[in-house]
Symmetry: C2
Subunit: 272 residues, 2 copies
DNA sequence: CGATACGTTGATCCATTTCAAGATTGGTGG
DNA sequence: CCACCAATCTTGAAATGGATCAACGTATCG
């Protein structure tokens, strides 16, 4: 830990395509970071609107992407784990459509826009992997959209925990079956699109079903297979590198053995 | 039309940041297209999995992004209008997580990967705008996520039509208050995450409310203001260029004058 | 002209919301 | 250390939006 050569950017694309980066590129990336900051729970890492003079990478902790609606109520549209740039899109768009809020204590690194611009100009391969990192987020967004159609409350909740757990594990955090967060029922409600009251009941169902347990921010996976089934989880959308980092395979398109779908979806879905 | 200098890529970023492209760059972009094809309604433009040897730009018509779940039911997660690259993300990721299906007759252009790779290497400014185009799609994805939390069926339906209409208008299609599509109730059901039966009722409500009319693919906006209110539409996420192209302004964060929200959202939302 | 997909309407059911009231937790100051 | 407060969480009961089922219209097309 002390002699980690890349203390700021060591998690960038970890578990995804980090191995495509040469050592030289890893060093270039690391030297982008100008300074770091530690922010407390609930602090705004970014505010929607114009971006600042730097681009921000999450080094430690969780960050939540939330978007205000026209009634000023905010809705969670995603989250970031260490190694994710939280405002690379804002750098490209010159405008940010959402906030990023610390969930627990976080450490972030700041990259001056000028430095990043230079690297994008001079390092096409690195630039392409930065582009790729934004595209990976888009894939997760589409998965969230699909899951919000496919699954009902309990499934969406299960899927969020599966998603969170995988992404945390990809960057080497958490232990094998759980993680301590600062998430509240309110967060879960916003993430799953249900009321806080129903979060409570849904978590009880998951606990009593032996799927997972969530108490004051700490979640423990009670049974991985049950979680995968409840969430209809298929890790493909996370685009993990191949390799045995996390052993979790779901057969896609299994016909008869799969349990009945969470939602019947009469004829909501299109023929495939 | 006949002497349009950019018949294939003339809609790329139109209504967004197209004006940032120099004439030379517009020509470079246009010359990327190797050949074109016309595909009939319901044909698959792309299949999820490995991308082909070319990148595809939609030249005319609508294309629907759909994603199969583990029970092989497909869910619509977005759509493309002319000028959008439908698989630029696949080019970057070397993998596509969804299908793209023609909605009505479409015309597409094929760009050999090799040519695109060269342009990205040699034309950093153009490359950045290509990157930007993928980020714009991500912004739309997040808006869909937020709207599926914020609004109930009628609002989501209204929002889809507002989204569609705006994006169609940005690329100069449709007339001032409507458009002919090949969309069916099944599509709308998948897009809004409701049943086809409820689509029928929701469309009736919108029609009787004087908001919009949808009959056999043709939608007509009966009252723009009512549509904006029903959808809580704020065009910010589309990143339109400023200017009077489409007159549609919604005051954000208006406090008392706004009608009550579609969903009460007891305490599902976070304090902002 | 029948077949087939698409759209409509009514009746019933159920997942989830809302309202309401109480329990647990964490934080603060006396 | 305890009392108190605010926020968070839990549980019950009632209301509701939307799903499902079923039956019947209506285009479209060979």
């Amino acid at each position: 830990m002390a002699d980690n050569p890349h203390p700021f950017t060591g998690h960038f694309l970890q578990g995804r395509l980090r191995k495509e980066l040469e050592l030289r590129e890893l060093d270039v990336l690391e030297q982008l970071v100008d300074r770091t900051a530690v922010l407390q729970n609930e602090s705004k890492i970014l505010r929607n609107g114009k971006p600042s003079e730097h681009v921000t990478i999450l080094i430690e902790g969780l960050a939540i992407q939330s978007k205000c609606d026209s009634e000023r109520r905010s809705h969670i549209v995603g989250f970031h784990v260490p190694g994710d740039f939280v405002d690379l899109e804002a750098f490209i768009l010159n405008q940010l459509d959402h906030d990023s809020v610390a969930c627990g204590q976080v450490k972030v690194g700041f990259v001056p826009q000028e430095r990043l611009r230079k690297v994008i100009r001079d390092e096409p391969h690195l630039a392409q992997l930065l582009w790729l990192s934004t595209v990976l987020n888009a894939s997760i967004n589409r998965q969230w959209i699909m899951k919000s159609r496919q699954l009902s409350a309990i499934g969406r909740m299960a899927h969020f925990f599966a998603d969170l757990w995988y992404r945390i594990r990809m960057v080497g955090m958490g232990h094998s079956n759980g993680f301590q967060t600062m998430l509240t029922h309110r967060h879960l409600a916003s993430i799953c699109g249900i009321s806080t009251v129903h979060v409570s009941r849904t978590l009880r169902d998951l606990r009593e079903g032996g799927v997972l347990d969530f108490q004051r921010g700490r979640f423990i996976i009670l049974d991985r297979d049950k979680l995968k089934v409840a969430a209809r989880f298929d890790k493909g959308y996370l685009y993990r590198e191949s390799g045995p980092a996390v052993d979790c395979v779901v057969k896609i398109h299994g016909s008869a053995s799969q349990p009945a779908s969470d939602r019947k979806c009469h004829e909501r879905t299109l023929p495939s």
